[in-house]
Amino acid sequence: DVKVTQSSRYLVKRTGEKVFLECVQDMDHENMFWYRQDPGLGLRLIYFSYDVKMKEKGDIPEGYSVSREKKERFSLILESASTNQTSMYLCASSSTRWYSYNEQFFGPGTRLTVL
């Protein structure tokens, strides 16, 4: 079974802090994603990585950066957390093999509260 794990289920941080969210997948997937989920807005893509050290901005990259130094690990960084970044953060991965049809596998999510 594909497993995607996220470093924390719940996280509380203060405004201005630097926040790291970690995601690890164990299926040798090439693609990894970070989404944020807010009520009524569905999932919005923050960043996407298609290979080690490669990244692409999603729909809402402002205030975030990412790092992918190893294939299995994709980190989301909030350089200076703000209250409007309080949200549920979801990590996902997918394979580039044609028969995967870009199906994504999700981690359990990290609920981040910025005070």
Partner: protein
């Protein structure tokens, strides 16, 4: 950029009834996928339908796709309390990304 829009936003039914959710999208797609999210958890893939398919079944799930109307529907038959969750459609448009809709919240009352 939201490609898919689910309808209704919320649905409440009795156990044993069927639940139908709809998804509309704007551009041509390679495939369309449905995911389920239990409260406060990650999404789980349910079923995928390719652009050249019209209908697909998996257990109590039935998905239809009408590319001329750019719409899809997910039918859950004989619903159970455990089906209570949010359901999202996701379109595979190009590249390796999916575009998710805002979701339908389904509540099945026992």
């Amino acid at each position: 950029s939201q490609q898919g829009e689910e309808d209704p936003q919320a649905l409440s039914i009795q156990e044993g009834e069927n639940a139908t959710m709809n998804c509309s999208y704007k551009t041509s797609i390679n495939n369309l996928q449905w995911y389920r999210q239990n409260s406060g958890r990650g999404l789980v893939h349910l079923i995928l339908i390719r652009s050249n398919e019209r209908e697909k079944h998996s257990g109590r799930l039935r998905v239809t796709l009408d590319t001329s109307k750019k719409s899809s529907s997910l039918l859950i038959t004989a619903s159970r309390a455990a089906d209570t969750a949010s359901y999202f459609c996701a379109t595979d448009v190009w590249g390796n990304k999916l575009v998710f809709g805002a979701g339908t919240i389904l509540r099945v009352k026992s």
